[in-house]
Symmetry: C2
Subunit: 450 residues, 2 copies
C-alpha cells in the first residue's frame, strides 16, 4: 500500500490549517482534469482509476509517519486535534469517475471527489500522479497501435521508464491503449496482461558462437522462438536462424536500416521455405517511424516499442490539475473558480454528456438538450465509484478497459486520430449555466473591498 | 521490497535457457552505462545506487510468483532444476560502482556487476530503470540549479511525475543534483530530505475571501508564511498579503507575466516596509526560462520547479544499457562485444580514471599512464559496493551524494555546464587495450563459418 506521506507537504499544511480554521468538516468537491492536451495529442484515454481507488480506500497514517510530521517546522503550530484526526484518518467521501478506457478531452473531469475538505485535499498529489501518468501512456499507446495498421505492438519499455514501478504502470496503460501485451512480468502477474519476451543480445554473447546460441534457444522455446539476429551482423544472423528451419516464430531486428533489413530478412526466410516465419522489429521506435514503415509496405509482422512509449517521449507530461469547484458551508453551496491568467477554472461540479459528434460539459444536475426531437438522451460519462467511503461494485479489469478504449476510439472521427492533422479538434462545449456561475463569481470577487 | 517479477520476461526466458544449456553458473560481467548523452545534456550525475543495492540484496522469488511463472507458455519447457534455482535464488555476486553524485559521461560504467550469469541477467531491467531515471533527474536538477544563479530551487513535481513512486525518487535525485529540498513528504520521511510547502489555490478558495484565507495562514505559519497571491489577481493578492505585515516569509507567484509581476510584487512589499519579505516563483519553469529571469535581474529569491524537473521534460529518457563485457568459462576469460550498427559495445570490464582535464576508460587492470612525470596517479572511480553478495560498508546518504555532486560539478570546465554551448564536450578516451580487445573479437567473429 502506498504511504500516506506520498503527497506534497502543502496538502498537510493546509489540512492543519483547515482544522485550525474549523473548516475541515466542510464538504468540498474537487475535479481532476487536463487543463489542455499536450502537443501531439488530440485525445486522452482515461487510465489509472483502480490504483486511485485502492489508494483512497487504504489511506492511513502510521504512528511513525505522524511522529515524523510532528517534527516538521511547518507543522509545529498545528492544533493537537489535527494529530488526532490524522491518527484516525479514513476517506469517507464520494468519488465519481469515467470508466477506464474512456476517451476524454481537455477540461473534462476524469474524476470528481466530494468529501470533508481535509479528506479531499490530502489525496490531490497521489491522484494526479497516478491518473495523469497512466492516461498519458494509454493515449501514446493508442497512437502507436494506430500507426502499426493492425500489426501487433508489444510494450518493451520498463528499463527506460521513470523507475521500475512506473514501468509496471506503463505496461498496464499501454495494454489499455491497445498494445497486445508487455515484456514486464510484474504487470502480467498483477493485472493478467499477456507477457512476451525470448532473448537479448547477452544470450547470443554468452555462447562461443551465434549459431550455437540459436540452436539452444530453439530447443527451449520451439515454435515461440524469436531469434535476435543483430548482435554481430543482421543478415548473417538471419541466415543462421533460417538454417535451423522449423520450429520458430521468427526473427527480431533491433538495429540498423530496418527498411533494407526487413526486406532482406523476408527474402532469406522465404528462400529457406520459412514463409510462415515472422519478422519483429524494435529499437527506438515511435508512431511516426512506424507509420512510415507501414506506408512503405515493409514485411513487418510485429513491433516492440519501449522507450518512446513508456516515457511518452514526445509529450512526457500532461497538465493534469485537481481543482476545488464547489463547497458546502452550513448546508449552502459556494462555488469556487480561479481567475489566474491562462489558468482559469470553471466553478461547479460537472457532468459530461457525449453526443455522436460532440461533448457537452454541464453543471452536474443539468439535463442535456438534444439537437433533434426524440433523439436519445446521452448517458452521463461520470459514474459513482465510491460512496460514503465504500466502493460501489468491482471496477472493470484491464481487459475490459482495453475493450472500452477500443470501442471509444472506433467512434472518434478519423481526423482526431490522425498523427499529422493540426487543424481539427474534437468539439467540447461548456453549458451556458457553467459560464453564468463563473461570471457570477467574478462579479462577486470584483465587488469585494481590496 | 520490489518484486522479483519486476523484470522483462526475456531475462527469465534466458535464465531458463542458461540452466538448460548448463551455463547458469558461468561467471559473467555486465556494465551499466549510457550509450550516449541525450540532447541538452553534457554530463550525467550518477544516482540511484542505494535502491539498486537494496534490490539486489533482497532479490527473492515467492512461491506465488513461481507458480505464476510456471503457467507462462514461454517457460513451459524450463527444466525442473530451473524452478529450484528460482526458489533458492540469492544474489551472490560482486558490484562495483561510482559513488552517487559522481559526474559521468557516455560510455563510462555507472556500475559493473560480476556474478553467475543467471544472477547477473535477471536484475538487468530493474537496475536500468532505477539508475537511469535518478541519474537523468539529478543532471536535470543540476542544470536548473545552475541557471538559478544561487537562488534556492525546490522540487515540486510529484503530481506530474510518472507515478507517485517516481515522484519520490525524482525528489531524491533532484536533491542530489543540487535542489534545496522538495515538496514530497515521503522523500523527506525516507531520505531525510528537507521538505517545503505552505498552501495551494484551494486554500484561498476554501474561504469566502482571500484576505481571510491569508490571515488564517499567517496565524498558523508565522514567519514561514508564503502567500500564494494569484488565485484571482496577483497584484491585488500581493497587496492583501502586504497589508497583513509581519510575520511572513514572502509571496509566491504561480502564473502570469513573472517579469512584470515579480517587480510589482517587490515594489508592493517594499512600500509596505517588508524589505525582508521574499518572492518565490513557480509554474512551468525550466532552466531556460530561469536563466532568462536571472539575466533580467528579476527580484526573485526562490523557485519552485515541478513538471519539467520531475519528468526531465526536454530529455525524458536516457540510452542506458547493461551489456555483457566478459565471461569466464572453465577458468578462462572470454570477452564479449556487440558489433550492431550504431550500437557497438567495447569488450572487457573497465575502470575509469579521472585526470584534471579528461577521463581515461581502460581495461580494469590497466594502470593509467600520466602525462607528466611525477604527476599523481588518479584514483579509479569504480569502487566495490557488494562482494560475494555482501554489502561492503554503508552507502553514503543523499546529503553526502549531494555534496559529492557539488564538488564534482565545481571541477567541470565551465563550458561543459553551459546550457547553450553545443560545440564542446568533455574528453573521454578509451585505452588502446580496449580497442585491441574489440578488434580481436571482430576478427574472431569474421573468421567463423557462417
Amino acid at each position: 500500500m502506498p504511504s500516506a506521506l506520498l503527497t506534497d507537504l502543502y496538502e498537510l499544511t493546509m489540512a492543519a490549517g483547515y482544522v485550525a480554521a474549523g473548516k475541515h468538516t466542510e464538504r468540498a468537491t474537487f475535479e481532476l482534469f487536463l487543463r489542455r492536451l499536450p502537443r501531439n495529442r488530440k485525445f486522452a484515454i482515461a487510465a489509472g482509476l483502480p490504483q486511485a481507488v485502492e489508494y483512497l480506500l487504504n489511506l492511513r497514517f502510521t504512528g511513525e509517519e505522524i511522529d515524523y510530521l510532528r517534527r516538521l517546522p511547518r507543522l509545529a503550530h498545528a492544533r493537537p486535534e489535527f494529530w488526532e484526526i490524522l491518527r484516525d484518518f479514513r476517506f469517507t467521501g464520494d468519488v465519481w469517475a469515467v470508466p477506464e478506457g474512456t476517451v476524454l478531452f481537455a477540461g473534462e473531469p476524469f474524476l470528481t471527489l466530494r468529501a470533508p475538505i481535509i479528506e479531499a485535499q490530502i489525496p490531490e498529489t497521489f491522484l494526479l500522479a497516478t491518473i495523469s501518468f497512466q492516461t498519458m501512456i494509454a493515449s501514446k499507446a493508442a497512437r502507436i497501435v494506430d500507426a502499426a495498421c493492425g500489426r501487433s505492438v508489444v510494450e518493451f519499455g520498463t528499463r527506460r521508464a521513470h523507475s521500475p514501478e512506473a514501468g509496471v504502470l506503463a505496461a498496464r496503460a499501454s495494454y489499455i491503449g491497445g498494445c497486445l501485451g508487455t515484456s514486464n512480468v510484474e504487470a502480467g502477474f498483477r493485472y493478467g496482461i499477456p507477457v512476451y519476451g525470448t532473448a537479448a543480445h547477452s544470450w547470443v554473447q554468452a555462447f562461443d558462437n551465434e549459431l550455437e546460441s540459436f540452436r539452444c534457444l530453439q530447443s527451449l522455446l520451439g515454435e515461440s522462438t524469436v531469434y535476435l539476429v543483430d548482435t554481430y551482423d543482421p543478415v548473417e544472423g538471419t541466415k543462421k536462424a533460417a538454417s535451423l528451419g522449423s520450429p520458430l516464430w521468427g526473427v527480431r531486428l533491433d538495429s540498423g536500416n530496418l527498411v533494407e533489413l526487413s526486406r532482406e530478412a523476408r527474402r532469406i526466410l522465404d528462400q529457406a521455405g520459412l514463409k510462415d516465419a515472422k519478422i519483429m522489429v524494435s529499437g527506438d521506435l515511435n508512431e511516426y517511424k512506424i507509420l512510415e514503415m507501414m506506408a512503405a509496405g515493409l514485411p513487418i509482422d510485429a513491433l516492440g516499442v519501449g522507450t518512446d512509449l513508456a516515457t511518452s517521449a514526445d509529450a512526457p507530461n500532461m497538465s493534469a490539475v485537481y481543482k476545488l469547484v464547489e463547497r458546502e458551508v452550513g448546508g449552502k453551496k459556494r462555488f469556487a473558480a480561479k481567475f489566474s491568467e491562462d489558468k482559469q477554472t470553471l466553478p461547479g461540479a460537472k457532468q459530461i454528456f457525449r453526443f455522436p459528434d460532440r461533448d457537452l460539459v454541464g453543471y452536474v444536475t443539468e439535463c442535456p438538450t438534444c439537437d433533434e426531437e426524440g433523439a436519445p438522451q446521452p448517458d452521463p460519462l461520470l459514474r459513482p465509484v465510491i460512496v460514503g467511503g465504500v466502493q460501489v461494485g468491482a471496477l472493470p479489469d484491464a481487459h475490459t478497459a482495453r475493450e472500452h478504449a477500443r470501442e471509444n476510439l472506433s467512434r472518434l472521427p478519423k481526423v482526431i486520430r490522425s498523427l499529422y492533422d493540426e487543424e481539427h479538434s474534437y468539439r467540447v462545449e461548456y453549458s451556458a449555466e457553467l459560464w453564468r456561475l463563473y461570471e457570477d463569481l467574478l462579479e462577486q470577487y470584483e465587488g469585494q473591498p481590496s
